[in-house]
Amino acid sequence: MPPDEQGALTEAVFYILLALHEPLHGYGIMQGVQELTKGRVNLGPGTLYGALSSLVEKGWITALDDASNSRRKEYQITASGEQVFQAELQRLEELLTHASLIAGGKWK
């Protein structure tokens, strides 16, 4: 991964990549993330739309061809998206390990 791609993912991108482990259309992502986080993360449709086009451009997700219902475009994570996502999980794990080391066992 190039150095400029090693930084933290935004929360929106993290949850979009997580949600797209199954094929979903835009509204499905919004609903899924909202349910999963019990309403804490509400992706704005403008923010989501921008993030989806950036992620497609990067090749981290792909739009699925579905001739039967072309109006509702579905997306899914790609292999390179998965790689980025796994690297992010490692980074997050490191954060929590450090936090429990210094700030106490609260995170264990």
Binding site: A12, N42, G44, P45, G46, T47, L48
Partner: protein
């Protein structure tokens, strides 16, 4: 009987316009159309809808613009009107909060897009207004007035960008 109402207003600042539409909605007057300073309202239940105004990246009639509006419609958002690149949106309040943007980066992007629209128009009016580009005539005071009218919201958007960028150093 359905009550209809037409009001004329001019707003330089889209956030003030948005607040006004939401205030009207809280009284049960829901905007159903907008054409150049003319707002049409329909009487309904108070606070039935939440209104948002956005400057789109692309023209609403272009394929990219239409794809975005379809995306919004899938999420239960209704397109009330479009005006050049501006779009007037509403969503039923019972479907929960309605904000187009959920992080600072995309809010900043939106304000920047608006500034890129306002600054050339404001600048051109200013130069016409002070007579740099041609023989100045008293009528050009109107240009000067227009440039100040645009400068006020532009300054407020600029302040918002600065504030959000400062916030971005700490959180998304």
């Amino acid at each position: 009987m359905e009550m209809r109402k037409t009001l004329y207003r001019f707003f330089g600042n889209f956030e003030k316009e948005e607040a006004w539409l939401n205030q009207m909605a809280s009284q049960g007057l829901h905007c159903v159309d907008y054409v150049l300073c003319r707002y049409k309202f329909e009487q309904g239940a108070p606070s039935e809808y939440i209104y948002r105004i956005e400057l789109m990246e692309k023209d609403p009639r272009s394929p990219e613009g239409m794809a975005y509006l379809e995306f919004l419609e899938e999420a239960g958002i209704e397109v009330v009107a479009t005006h050049v690149r501006w779009v007037y949106l509403r969503k039923k309040a019972e479907q929960g909060p309605f904000d187009l943007y959920s992080d600072n980066a995309s809010r900043i992007k939106h304000y920047r897009r608006i500034l890129r629209l306002l600054l050339p128009i404001g600048g051109l009016n200013f130069f016409f207004g002070i007579g740099i580009l041609h023989n100045w005539q008293p009528i050009n005071l109107l240009n000067l007035g227009a440039s100040f009218l645009l400068a006020i919201p532009a300054w407020s958007y600029y302040q918002r960008i600065m504030q959000l960028e400062k916030e971005s150093e700490i959180r998304e």
